[in-house]
Structure formats: C-alpha cells, structure tokens
Symmetry: C2
Amino acid sequence: MENRKIPDNKIKIPIIPVFDPIEELNMYTSLGSLHTFIKGSKIISPGIPFYSIIYLISGQLEASIVSRTGEEKYLFEICKNCIGVAINPNDDHEFQITAVKDCIVYFFTLDMMVEILSQDANLLKKFILNIVQKVHYFEHQARDLYQCRSSSRVFSFLYDLCLTKGKRVNDHYELAVENISQKMIAKITGTHPVTVCKLFTYLSREGIIKKNKKVIKIYDLNKLCNLIADEELTY
Amino acid sequence: MENRKIPDNKIKIPIIPVFDPIEELNMYTSLGSLHTFIKGSKIISPGIPFYSIIYLISGQLEASIVSRTGEEKYLFEICKNCIGVAINPNDDHEFQITAVKDCIVYFFTLDMMVEILSQDANLLKKFILNIVQKVHYFEHQARDLYQCRSSSRVFSFLYDLCLTKGKRVNDHYELAVENISQKMIAKITGTHPVTVCKLFTYLSREGIIKKNKKVIKIYDLNKLCNLIADEELTY
C-alpha cells in the first residue's frame, strides 16, 4: 500500500477543467441537504450570497464568473461526485453556477464540512488536494492568458488532449471529440470561437488534422507541437 | 460572538496578492521543520519535486510560475504568518518560490498538516478559506486577463487600491506606494512595464493623478473609474 501513496497525492492539472471527484462524500450525504435543479437553472447567481459546499450526485454543473459589464468567463465543470466550494457570503460576488443537465446535489455548510473533514483524515487530504488542484489550474490559466497567443493556447490544448486521450491508429492519432465542441475549446482556452474555427481550418489545410463532428484525426503531432511555439504564425 | 461569525468567514479577494495570514500555526511549529533562506535563494525550483506546506515566520517569499520557454509569470507574495501550499511531487511542475528577503520558514508535510488540522476545527476552517481565497483570486485574474485591456486592468488596480488604502486629503486621495513600484503593478496586473509607464504618464497628463516615488495623489477618482471601461482609449 505504501507504494501507492505518492501517485495518490499527485496533483494533475486537468486539460478539460473537471477536478478530481471525492466519492467518499457519499458516506456523509445524510449531513447535507438535498436539492434538485432542472437543466438551465442557476444554483448561484452574481450578487446573491451563497455559503455552502456543493456535492454533485448526478447531472452536470458549470461554474463561471461574470464581469463588471455582465460578460461571462467560463471557469470549470462540476461532474458526478465532484465539489464546488461556493463560499460567497458577500452580495458583491461575481460567481455563477448553472445546471447544464438536470442535477441532484447536496449542500453542506462550511461548518458541517469542517466537522466531517475533522473526523476523516483521508477525506480531508483529498479535499485539500482538490482545492489546491483548482489553484494550480487557474494559476496556469492566468499564465497562459498572459504569455501565450491564442494559437498557442488552442494548439497546446489539442496537443495535450491527444497525448492523454488520443488513440494511435496506423499512421495517426484519433481523438473522440463528441463532447468537446469548438465552442467548448474556445471557452476552456479563453479564445474567441471565430479564432478557434480559423485555427482548425489552418490545421486541416496544412494536413496536420482531419476532423468531423465526432473525431479529430491527428496526422502530424510533431508539427502541431512546433506550432505551439510559433510566434509568427498567420492563419 | 455569533454576530462575528459571518464577517470572519468572508473571503476577500486581495488587490495585492497577499493571502490571509494563519497565525494559529505558530502553536504547531514544533511539528514542522525549521529552515532559513537568504535573500535571493530559491525554495522551490521548476522540475524539482517538493511536497510540503510552507509557513513563513519572517521575511518574504514570492511565488511564480515559469513557462515552457522559461519566461516567468508572477503569482503572489507570502508574507509573515502566511502559507504556501507547495504540493508539487512531480518532476515536471513549473512553480518557483524565491526568498525576496532573508527568511525563516517551517515546512510541514501534508500528512502532518492533515493531522494538525484534524484536531483544530477553527484552524481547519481558516486553512480551507485561505486556499479558496487563492482559487478566487486566480479565477478573477484569468477573467481579467481574458476580458480586459491592459489599461482597464491597471486602472482598476489603482482604483481599487485607492478605495481600500487611499486617504482623503482635502480635494484628493493620497496613496502610499513606497512598496508598490510600477514594476510591481506590471507584475500583479500581468501588463508590460512599458505599458504601465505609458498609462501613468497618460493619467498625469490628464490631471487625474500626480505622483512621486512615495505617493500617488488621485485628483479625479470618477474619471479614473470611467477610464476602466473606456474601450477606445489611446495613450
């Protein structure tokens, strides 16, 4: 068992912003309050105080942050057994959590969660690592938005996704993208959808990828990798 | 006492990225290991695994993240009684923590910290809120880097700083900026130093501010506020 310890504590920065599930919370749901939300409804809205930890039993939630001018910036997904730490007691917070599917969730007050975590060291460790994973993700995102061109962000997203989820098939890699639309890639990478579309057109024209709605076939992973650092690229 | 509860749990997003101190950890330093670092030395370097929580007794640390090309992106400061959760067991992490002053720190292993937190509900709550504060800060930063022009980021930094730290003196506000150089503002807002310089020149020329090395005097806070949203500004 001791050997498994280090890999367990590793913090992976996800490519698609879905953070590690904490299934162990299933044991404590009797200490939370059960709520259901239909697709499209808002659990948290900017300016409306909310002070709970959200634990998702089924469905899917999307967290975003709204700007002074009302523009929305996508943050992350909350999937089955994942949490959202929605500690926003102020009436000037700018967070939003929306049900993108019908959802069943539990709310835990922070005090209740603290009580639960105090009694379960393993769960506490997982909980801390989960929030730290979010810190790391957004530190990386801030860096990439600051330092990288849109093309670099979109190409490294595609490259990293291919390395982790792509399947080698003969002379190319295949990447199932049914759930990852160009619109989604635009949201995750903080890039305008029109720019993402142009970049994919460029990659197709250069013979680096072939794509349809379900699959992206990547024929030249090296060339894709080199394009990440290309500061002169015009598309 | 009950009345104090909500304000205590409020998560303030800092303007200068220094997160809430956790003085209560002073009681547990005997469970950590003591280290000293001279100014300029690196506690954490990219690619070198490190797996501890850092608690600063004296001095000052700066956390940053390095890019694929070696370029550095400033993240935050660690000041007296503040923590850095440096859980980077992988040899491909990109974080860096540097002593900007001579420092005395304690390192706690994650397991030891979990043990400490399990026994002290108040400390645990503060610890969770501290990490969530970091998540919120970088979510906001990612939004601002994505949505806002440099001018908007720099002007809102100055505006927010004036609202929280400015002193009303006759017809203007005075802001002590001995520790907040233009270089620092560039780092915090993710803006090129040359741009920050141009923006300050613009503000001076328009009679909105007067500045020297120690103080910025703000004569027209409303105009500064309006400039945040000005998409057409040329400077």
